[in-house]
């Protein structure tokens, strides 16, 4: 009797397991793995999600924001990994920064390892007044430094804004988990020198971002 019950239970479990497999179909991660091939610099390891990518994908698919505790944990981890410039100088040349903001090159499968990556900032942000072809996925950054009262980026009074801006460029999730903005420093999209140029574009009072 006991044996029979066990067998029935096992059978029921097998049916349930079978049904679960039948109703779910192939797992989405298997499908993704089977659907892409490496090409040039774009290797298959790009499909492996970081914990942050995974958490953000799940929240997006569920149509709900991350729970506050997870968001805070991810933001703190991102902030802790922000690497300040080695020489302590945060600002480069805004003219170079403008070129980086205009360029959408880099890291695509039709780019090479030698392709100089851009930041493509104008894809999502308004920056200077002269460039009217800008996107709106991110907020307008026109007058970014001026609006934040940065008259002299080297002044200690500006230090907080300077560090925040560097952190946002390095890893946008440090201040807003699941932000749509790429991790330009953390993911190695832009070099430290390039990041300094973009910093200058945003904060140098002479930059077209901050002039009327």
């Amino acid at each position: 009797m006991k044996t029979n019950n066990t067998l029935i239970l096992l059978g029921a479990a097998a049916i349930v397991a079978g049904c679960a497999t039948m109703s779910a179909g192939p797992d989405v991660t298997e499908v993704i793995k089977a659907s892409f091939q490496e090409r040039g610099i774009a290797k298959l390891d790009r499909l492996e999600q970081t914990p942050l990518q995974k958490a953000c994908s799940q929240a997006d698919a569920a149509g709900k924001p991350l729970d506050a505790a997870t968001a805070s944990r991810l933001e703190q981890a991102a902030l802790a990994a922000v690497k300040p410039p080695a020489d302590g100088t945060y600002l480069g040349d805004w003219k170079e920064g403008e070129k980086i903001a205009q360029s959408g090159r880099g890291l695509q499968f039709n780019d090479t390892a030698q392709t100089v990556a851009g930041g493509n900032c104008y894809a999502c942000h308004q920056l200077s007044k002269a460039e009217i072809s800008f996107g709106n996925i991110g907020p307008s950054l026109y007058q970014y430094g001026k609006q934040r009262g940065v008259a002299n980026p080297a002044d200690p009074a500006s230090a907080e804004i300077v560090k925040y801006t560097w952190g946002k460029l390095w890893n946008s999730h440090a201040y807003r988990a699941c932000s749509p903005m790429p991790r330009f420093g953390d993911a190695g999209i832009l070099t430290e020198v390039q990041l300094k140029h973009v910093m200058a574009l945003l904060l140098d009072p002479q930059s077209p971002v901050n002039t009327p």
Binding site: Q49, Q108, Y122
Partner: protein, 268 residues
């Protein structure tokens, strides 16, 4: 008299210029797109595709007239508006391009690897046979209501996986399809980005692919559209007819149900 006419023409063109200046950039782009609608080169692709469809070809010297696109063998009208769908003979959900290749293999005896090796033409090059055939199949669904089915369990699975793939963030940029296509009124540069999670924009987007891209001088298929989106996301290369592509098209198609097919369209 000549001078008078010249002066009048100048006045008209100046008035036109000032009217243009008052327009927003988005309106100007919309006008430009509208001006392209007349005389779509994709009509030629569709005509070539029709000839290819009806011609006996391949190792089996057969036409594609017996191909079942979901509405019975040989029924082409409206079929593209109801794909992807589940096909019992292949035990799989297939989109237009997957089903077309399936028919070319089973009916005509072409080798699948040869058909899928180069499905997209290079910029300005002659369209591939696949592109011409796809243009023809969509042209035969023009004006038909989008009706992508979800009745079969595998169709539901494809939709559910497609949704997850749509929100799948990965790669060095952390992008997913949703990074650009899940909010209203978004733009990259001056390019409007349809919110593909909402009915009306999903309908407009789904209805308009494949499309003739003026900038590339080529008909671009729905599979190409996804392949190029993933390139911009910095992902590896999406394989032609891959399961993820079919799942995504199923997700987009179901979101677009009730819309009206208008492909091949023309885009800048």
């Amino acid at each position: 008299m000549k001078w008078l006419a010249y002066g009048a023409a100048c006045a008209v063109s100046l008035a036109g210029a000032s009217a243009l200046a008052q327009k927003s950039a988005a309106d100007a782009i919309a006008d430009y797109r509208a001006s392209l609608q007349d005389g779509n080169p994709a009509d030629l692709n569709a005509a070539r595709g029709a000839a290819l469809w009806n011609k006996a070809r391949g190792p089996k010297n057969a036409s594609l007239q017996g191909c079942d696109l979901g509405k019975g063998p040989g029924v082409v009208a409206g079929a593209a508006a109801s794909l992807p769908r589940y096909f019992a003979d292949a035990d799989a959900v297939m989109d237009v391009e997957s089903r077309l290749v399936h028919c070319m293999v089973t009916l005509q005896g072409f080798k699948r690897e040869e058909l899928t090796a180069k499905p997209y033409s290079s910029d300005g090059q002659k369209a591939t046979e696949i592109e011409d055939l796809v243009a023809f199949l969509y042209d035969e669904s023009r004006g038909m209501p989008i009706a992508v089915p979800t009745g079969h369990p595998k169709e539901q699975q494809a939709y559910q996986r497609g949704k997850q793939i749509f929100f799948f963030r990965a790669g060095p940029y952390d992008f997913s399809c949703a990074s650009c296509h899940s909010a209203d009124g978004q733009r990259i540069r001056l390019q409007d980005l349809p919110n593909l999670t909402k009915t009306a924009p999903a309908q407009a987007a789904f209805a308009a692919w494949p499309a003739y891209r003026v900038s590339q001088g080529a008909v671009r298929t729905m599979q190409w559209r996804l392949y190029d989106c993933f390139r911009q996301q910095r992902m590896p290369e999406l394989k032609y007819l891959s399961p993820a592509s079919v799942d995504l098209i199923a997700f987009l198609g179901v979101n677009a149900n009730g819309g009206k097919m208008a492909a091949p369209s023309i885009k800048r």
